[in-house]
């Protein structure tokens, strides 16, 4: 018989990797890309992606809805777990529509204040990344 904590971890396969799963591609700081799920290598790596979050405008105090994706991944599905201080590259679909193109983000686990290691998931707050401007001579 497994304990409750183990059961919660197993349930993540349904709750964040179930029918609402969104595929993500991770590139670790050592340059290794992960696109398949470690628990089931026949499946793409994926998790829950929430595109909009509510924030408080620090100037006016009003609540605003901002485009700020938050990604939740099951730790046991990852080849390597992001650690504070590391820079990771992640690609997620631009919208929840099937076949949507992927957009690029950078994230660091520093921002993951509630790393969720006790119940088996990690929450990622990505930051938009763009190409360096072309040097002008």
């Amino acid at each position: 018989m497994i304990n409750l904590r183990e059961q919660i971890e197993l349930d993540l396969a349904e709750s964040i990797e179930g029918e609402w799963k969104m595929p993500v591609e991770l590139t670790s700081p050592d340059g290794v890309q992960q696109i398949l799920n470690k628990n089931d290598p026949t499946e793409l790596l994926g998790g829950q992606v929430l595109y909009f979050t509510s924030r408080e405008n620090p100037v006016t105090g009003e609540t605003m809805i901002v485009n700020n994706p938050v990604i939740t991944l099951r730790i046991s599905s990852l080849d390597r777990v992001p650690q504070p201080g590391e820079k990771w590259y992640i690609k997620i679909p631009i919208s929840p529509v099937s076949g949507a193109p992927k957009v690029r983000f950078l994230f660091s686990a520093d921002r993951t204040t509630e790393s969720g290691t006790d119940i088996g998931f990690i929450r990622i707050y990505p930051q938009k990344i763009e190409a360096e401007d072309e040097p002008t001579s």
């Binding site: 590139t27 050592d30 901002v66 820079k87 950078l106 660091s108 930051q127 938009k128 990344i129 190409a131």
Partner: protein, 208 residues
């Protein structure tokens, strides 16, 4: 006649806008909130904030006003990196690792951008050629940038926003305009001569 602080604010906006050469946007008012996407190049908001009239023995004639004009600056930024290497299917893990290591985080990029914006605005305003902001010499005197302050980093969605503030002070002479009065309607002088193309126009002379 409008008060001088309004003239100075308009002249400040015009000077900054003209000298910016499209490197940043200048607004002559304080906007409540702005999407970070719209301030990528830098946004400068100019507005009158404070005026003081030191009382002197002379109570008639022009009044000297020490004015403070706030200059709010905002930039937003994304992280910057070598996307082509990170996205390439042929890049080796070592190449991707090096590219990730070289990525500049958004906070670092934003800090550099706001420093550059402060540099630009300060240099435009303190330039000797812009001392009077295009106004006549006696209208504006003793212009100065009192202080520059950088604020904390704000996270707005997947971008970060950095703000800074500059206080521009100067002395102007205000004169009382008297009654507010009212604006008269524009008068129109109709000079159209109702004559056909072939008939000509002129004075018709009749001989009696």
């Amino acid at each position: 006649m409008t008060m001088m602080f309004r003239t100075v604010k308009t002249a400040l906006v015009t000077t900054l806008d003209g000298e910016s050469e499209s490197r940043f946007t200048v607004l002559g008012r304080q906007v409540q909130s702005k999407s970070p996407d719209e301030i990528i190049g830098g946004l400068v908001q100019v507005y009158f904030a404070d005026g003081a009239f030191p009382k002197s023995g002379r109570m008639r004639g022009t009044k000297s006003q020490e004015i403070t004009i706030e200059i709010d600056m905002q930039v937003s930024a994304t992280a910057k990196g070598d996307i082509s290497v990170l996205d390439s299917a042929t890049s080796t893990p070592a190449e991707k690792a090096a590219a990730l290591l070289a990525v500049r985080e958004a906070s670092e990029v934003a800090d550099g951008l706001i420093d550059a914006l402060i540099d630009n605005v300060w240099n435009i305003l303190m330039d000797k050629r812009n001392e009077t902001l295009g106004l006549d010499k006696p209208d504006i005197a003793s212009r100065w940038i009192d202080r520059i302050q950088k604020d904390t980093l704000l996270e707005r969605g997947d971008l970060v926003v950095k703000t800074a503030n500059m206080k521009y002070t100067c002395r102007v002479q205000e004169s009382v305009s008297g009654d507010l009065g009212n604006t008269p309607e524009t008068s129109t002088i109709d000079t159209i001569v109702t004559a056909g193309d072939t008939e000509g126009a002129g004075v018709e002379v009749e001989n009696y």
